[in-house]
Each structure stands twice: as C-alpha cells, then as structure tokens.
Amino acid sequence: MKRRLTIAAMTAALLATTGLARAEGELNIFNWGNYTAPDLIKKFEETYKVKVTVTDYDSNDTALGKIRQGGHGYDIVVPSASYVQIWVEEGLLLESNPNQMENFKNVDPRWVDVEFDPGRKYTVPWQWGSTGVSVDTAVYKGDINTSAIFLDPPPELAGKINVVPEMADVMHLAIRYMGGEPCTGDKEVLKKVRDKLVEAKTKWISMNYGNIEAMAKGDYAATVNWNGASLRMRDAKSSIHYGYPKEGYPLWMDNAAILKDAKNVENAKLFLNFVMAPENAALISNFAKYANGIMGSEKFMPPEMATAPEIVTPAEFSDKGKFMLRCAPEVQEIYTKIWTEVQK
C-alpha cells in the first residue's frame, strides 16, 4: 500500500516537472464557449510557435468563481464589461497596460476611455453588442427605433411581443425610457418603471430566450433582443429589422485580460497585441458575428456583415448606447423586487 502511494507520488511529480518544462511555449485561454475563432488560434500558434489551449465557461459567475479559487493555470480571461470592475477590485487581473502595446492604435477611440477600465490598463476589446428591439416590419410599419415597441406597444404588435427574461437588460431599457440613468436608485423613476412594466406586460405574449425561430415562424412580431441574434433573424426572414431605442439602450462588451497569477505572461501579452490587429479581430467577428471594436477590421469581413445595420450602429443612435455596469447591491435588491413583482 505504502509503496504504491510512493510510486503514485513520484509519477505525479514527474508529470509536474515535464509540465513545467513544456510551459515555455504555452498559452491557456479561458473564454466563453463557442466564442474563440479556431482560425485565430491556429494563426497565433503558427506565428509565435506557441501551443494554445482554450477552455470554455458559460457565464461570468462561473468564470469568476473558478478563478477566485486559484490553482486554475489560465493566462487569459474574457469578462464582460459589467464584471471587469469586480475582477480588478478583487485583484485578479494583471495591470498589463495594453495601451502601451504596438497595435493599440487600432482600438476605436470610442472604446478607449470606457467606464469599466479607463484608458485600458487591464483589458482589450474582444467583441461588443447592444440590446434593442427586433420588429417584423411586415406587421408594423412605424418607427422601430424606440423602446415603445415593448413598453407602449402599437396596436398592430400588442399580444405578439416577446421580451427576453434578462433582468439587467430589460431594467436598463425601461429606466432609460422613463428618463432615468442606468443603475439609478431614484424611487420616483423606479416607481414609474415598475408601473410601466406591469402595464406593458399585459400586451406581451411571452418572456423567452431562443426567439430566432419563433420570430421567423411568426409566433412573435417583435422581441427585445441582441443585435447579433437580430442579424440571424433577418437572414431567416428579410422583413425583420433591428431597432436601436432612441431613449437609450444597453451595451455589453467582452474584454480580454491577463490574469494576475498567469504563468505565461509574455505569451499572453503577445496575444493581446495580436487580437488588436484588424485582420485578426475580423477573424473573431466572422466566427461569432458581433462587432469587435478594432478599426479597419471591417475590411476583412464578408461585405454583407461589414455593412449590416445590426453590426454597424447608425451614427444617429451611436451615442444613445451606455454600458451595462454592475449596480450597487442596495439598488440591485430593488431591481430584483420589481422584476419579481412584474412576473408574480
């Protein structure tokens, strides 16, 4: 028994040392599932002679939980804007100063001084998108660039509207529609928001995800939705268009960053610089169908994607989008209560 244990321990030690010996040319990426373009990884491996391993996660909370525990062995992580501050405050990210890197000049100035990482000391843009409304314009001919589509529905749409059950997105849209700021704790605004949601809900048919097919088959005539999903709806049915609510709409952005306890920091820095090159950023977008925040990348995208209004925000609406950030816990508690009351 004892001897067997010794042998096991020696084998483990041997494996560990060979692992360390190989670590010279490695990079371990921890990213959302189905989100890392395989040809991007292949190109990086061939250019820098580095062996890349990609591991998936399915939510910000999963990723955060795993990294908090330590001993993970990852170098790169891709948290959403609303979580970046948590990662930074908990000391999980390395201040790698991507803003000093060679390719940083390609980052769209719009995404440099972002609220969640002013001046980009920790993160580089990976992909970004917005939440708005998708409307079947064969059913409703009026203005679709408004949250009134689901909060004050026109008669043509009443009873045919779906709303995604995402508390953060829907609260953001409703608060901006009632004239408030995201994450506001202003009770007067919130009361109006609650009353508006309760009233509007009677005109919704459902609160579901997975609505691409339902829109294409006509179960819904409108839905609160993400821009990339809306592009896929238009592919399925050409009369479906994406509206950017002019009262204000939420933006999300996933950002690549280096972990503080990364073992392959130099390779990780090479990777951050690498994804800021337009031709490489385009590989990410071509794979996952969202915009990437790197100027010049559209030249490397298929033309129908480079010009899609779902991906390229029309100028008149581009300043109406605001990042979804994490709200203060006491504000969050009120939002949860409103959300529960709306669905009780």
Partner: protein, 306 residues
C-alpha cells in the same frame, strides 16, 4: 477461562462493529451527497448576501424574513411578500392540476396494460418508457413544435376545416397543462401498473357475479386495491412538478414565474444567495410535509384494510 456467555457477547460485539464498518461507505455517501449539501444550504440561508453574489460570513435572518415578509420598495411599509406567496401558490396549484390530470389519463392506461396478455404487456410498458430516452428539454420543444400557430396541430385543424384561423394554444395555461401531463404521465402509469398487475381479477369477476355495477366494481374493488399505486404515482408526479420550470417557461411563455425561476433569479441576476437558499429550503419543507402526510395516510389506510 472464558465462559460461553462471554464468548457469545464478544462475538456479538464484533458482529455489530463489523456491520457498522461495512456500512461506512453507504453512510459516507449519504452524508456527502445528501445531508452535507443540505447543511450548506441551511448555513447559507443564515448569512448576509455578498455584494457580487456569494455570501458574507455574517449571521443574518434577513433571508428568512424576506421569504414571507417584505418592506415595500416605495412606501417602506412592512407587509406579506405577496409576490413570493403568489408564486408559491401558482407552483402548488400547477402541481395539483398535473397530478389529477395524469391520474385521470394514467389510470385507464395502466388498467389497459395490466389487462393485456402477459407477452404484450412488456411491449406496452416499453412504449410508455420511450419518451424517457430523450432529454426533457428536447421533448418540451417538440411539444412546442406541435402546438404552435403554424404547427402540426393547427395546420391539421385548418385543413380539416374545424377552424379558419390558428387557435392560440402556445403560451397559454393550456400549453403548460399539455406539456406537464405529457412529461409526467409515465411516472404515474408505471407505479399504477405495478399495483394493478398484482390485482386479482377474480375479485372483479366476483363483484360482477354479485350484481355490482361497473362503477361499483371500480370504486369498491379496484380503487381500494390499487391505492398504494395511486399514492406512489401521485407523489412521483407532485414533487417534481413543484420544482418544474423548463416546461412552464418554454410552453407557458415564462411571463409568470414558477418557484424554480424565483430561486434561480436569486442565485443569478438577483445576487442574493441567502434568499435563494431560504426559498429552496421552504420548498423542501413543503415537500417533506406532503410526504409525512402521505406516510400517515398510507399507514392509516393499511390499518383499515388489514
């Protein structure tokens, strides 16, 4: 010199020790997989929510108060948490309805199978279990495909001229009912069949010989004899229905929360793990009470029938 009695006593002690030793694996599994996690949930329900999910290690009973009472967001008065209450009631109501409907459909089905020749019974049972080969989510989406406005059912009805415009079934309570009954029916049929199979059909014949009507035979002979199956089936359907949320969400449209959704919200976007834990435990308590009720009821009816 040791006496025979001492030897016997030692043998018995050894025996008891050996038995405990041998059951250690089972005890470890029960503790690690059953009691341990439950204790973690109990512990979390008495802590303070952390700012970004997770918990702070400070004792608090807020979560438990929050299950039943809530401070109004706007006028700060303390009242009953009617949102939680109505969500609880909705889940319980749905579970009752599902249990009764599956019983109504499952009873004749099980009776039909039990009265087939023995060789074909196995085939019928096999047919009943086929849906279990597929994931619940996929079956639910399949139901959606059948009842949607441009789905098979409505297309057939229009073709037959029963209706000229599609009937809206999807995203109504009807859709939830259809989905729940479809999903849970096998759980009712199988225990019912198990007790009907043992039914002595000579008793049924005797009943008819004594001029009992069909209804009397059913009420006074068959139902009392298959009662254990009815109760077991009802429990198997009722308890998972309480926690069901895929089916109501996909088919009912998810406009109204079920208990499962409410609990999920607290662990996800709501970032209030202690409240989620307290809600989950409240559900456990409801289920336990239902089970205790069953045990007493079953014992009671056994006494009567001796």
């Amino acid at each position: 010199m040791t006496t025979a009695a001492e030897i016997a006593a030692r043998a018995e002690r050894d025996d008891i020790r050996k038995r405990w030793l041998l059951s250690t694996p089972a005890l470890v599994i029960i503790f690690l997989a059953g009691i341990g996690p439950l204790l973690v949930v109990v512990l979390y329900s008495f802590l303070t929510p952390g700012p970004y999910g997770d918990v702070k290690w400070e004792f608090s009973t807020d979560a438990w108060v929050g299950v039943f009472l809530q401070r109004d967001i706007f006028d700060d008065t303390l009242g009953i948490a009617d949102a939680h209450l109505s969500i609880f009631l909705r889940s319980v109501r749905l579970s009752f309805a599902t249990t009764i409907l599956t019983l109504l459909f499952g009873f004749p089905t099980a009776y039909f199978i039990a009265t087939r020749p023995e060789r074909t019974q196995a085939l019928w049972l096999f047919v009943i279990t086929i849906p279990f080969w597929t994931n619940l989510l996929i079956r639910t989406f399949a139901v959606q495909e059948v009842i949607r406005n441009e789905g098979i059912l409505n297309t057939a009805l229009i073709w037959l001229g029963v209706t000229s415009t599609p009937i809206q079934i999807l995203y109504t309570d009807w859709a939830i009912g259809i989905g729940m009954v479809y999903v849970y029916l096998p759980l009712m049929v199988l225990p019912l069949y198990a007790s009907m199979e043992k039914l002595d059909f000579r008793l049924v014949e005797a009943g008819y010989d004594l001029y009992a009507t069909r209804f009397q035979v059913l009420r006074r002979i068959i139902i009392p004899l298959v009662k254990p199956g009815i109760i077991a089936g009802s429990i198997l359907v009722f308890i998972p229905s309480l926690g069901a949320y895929v089916t109501p969400r996909v088919l009912g449209g998810g406009k109204q929360m079920m208990l499962g959704n409410l609990i999920e919200l607290q662990f996800g976007a709501g970032r209030n793990w202690p409240l989620g834990a307290a809600l989950a435990l409240t559900l456990t308590v409801i289920v336990t009470v239902a089970l205790l009720f069953y045990v007493r009821y079953a014992a009671h009816s056994e006494q009567r029938h001796g």
